[in-house]
């Protein structure tokens, strides 16, 4: 049946949405300026991903395959709208910080990719687990990026001072820093991957 360990490993490591599959890059670079924003965005995406996966998996029998993409888009956009209304009421500060990137979850490639590649072929329970582990992988990668950026650019992690006297480099909070950080994290992932492959061969 469901092997939770294996699923978790798949979502977080072997098929990590940001670092391995390179999906959903726009929000991951735009909101990773502070760890709070990264965590908030990650959880928001995880919730939408899990719910839409379940709904699409239940509805797969009724959706004609020719119009499935528009149907998925409407389902996803509906839940994004609900999420947006919830966030406006319960987390207004986060809502203001993330700005247009909350409605843009609707066109995030990860959600569409999981709907098309997984939820439309598997049962609701499996799809729900897939949504959660993929969302978890997205959240962890996003938190990693934003912790690095917040530390280098602001000398803070979750708004707490890290090293007193360290002069932060503001460029890491700005757009170029986002590109540099993700480049180096992805290069690091490549090194780890190739090391593992050579180990497996010998």
């Amino acid at each position: 049946m469901l092997d939770i360990d294996k699923e978790l490993k798949r979502g977080i490591i072997t098929e990590n949405p940001i670092l391995i599959l390179a999906l959903g890059l726009c929000p991951s670079l735009a909101v990773s300026t502070s760890a709070h924003n990264g965590l908030g965005m990650g959880i928001a995406v995880m919730m939408v991903l899990a719910i839409t996966n379940v709904i699409i998996s239940i509805a797969q029998g009724w959706i004609p395959s020719k119009v499935r993409i528009p149907c998925y888009i409407v389902i996803i956009a509906t839940f994004v709208t609900i999420l947006q209304m919830f966030m406006k009421v319960y987390t207004p500060t986060l809502d203001r910080q993330l700005g247009i990137f909350i409605p843009l979850i609707a066109v995030n490639c990860i959600i569409m990719a999981r709907a098309e590649a997984y939820a439309s072929k598997n049962n609701p329970l499996r799809s729900f687990v897939d949504g959660i582990v993929m969302g978890l992988g997205f959240t962890l990668a996003l938190v990693l990026l934003s912790v690095l950026r917040e530390f280098l650019g602001n000398n803070k992690i979750f708004d707490l001072l890290v090293i007193p006297g360290f002069q932060p480099m503001t460029v890491f909070i700005l757009a170029p820093g986002g590109f540099f950080i993700i480049a180096f994290v992805m290069a690091l992932v490549n090194i780890i991957k190739s090391k593992k492959e050579t180990k497996a061969k010998t």
Binding site: Q84, G177, I182, A183
Partner: protein, 206 residues
Amino acid sequence: MTDFVTIVQISIGAVLIQNFVLARFLGLCPFLGVSKKLSSATGMGMAVLFVMTIASMCIWWVDHAILIAMNEEFLRTIVFILIIASLVQLMELVMQKFTPALYESLGIYLPLAATNCAILGVVIINTGANPFTGNEFTFIEATVNGAAAGVGFLLALVLMAGLRERLELADIPKSMEGFPIAFITAGLMALAFLGFSGLSFFPGGH
């Protein structure tokens, strides 16, 4: 006269200072996916420019005539996505019929433009306040903003494709191949575009 100044401000703002790809991080998927060859980058950039301009115009009307008039602003995300998707389909049909040459060159990139977050991004920005005047976007301002954002996207995409064609021949470390080196290139470009943030002429903004 003030209208003209606002239009210049919006255009330079969206093309250079707040470039959609390099400063706002919108539309990164096509930016990395289609920037391997100069010819396909130009095609994609033109398709996005085209869709963005027309989508900004249509959505401004729908937003003001239907959504705001009926107090249904919460439906914006769904309605905008549906309009963009159907607009792309419609444009495909019209172009196929009347301008087959243009359709041949842009054809395959048009459906990709429908799921581009830069397009949804610009129409959502158009529903907010204009940073230069502090008021809502007028129809002309929204159109100009859409077109300028498209030009900015085209510029970034073409520059990136030119750089990546050269990079093909460069000797780079194995772990940096593919996405990492593309991100480093984009980062350096973003650093260069950061220089434009010194270009400030915001008399209306203060």
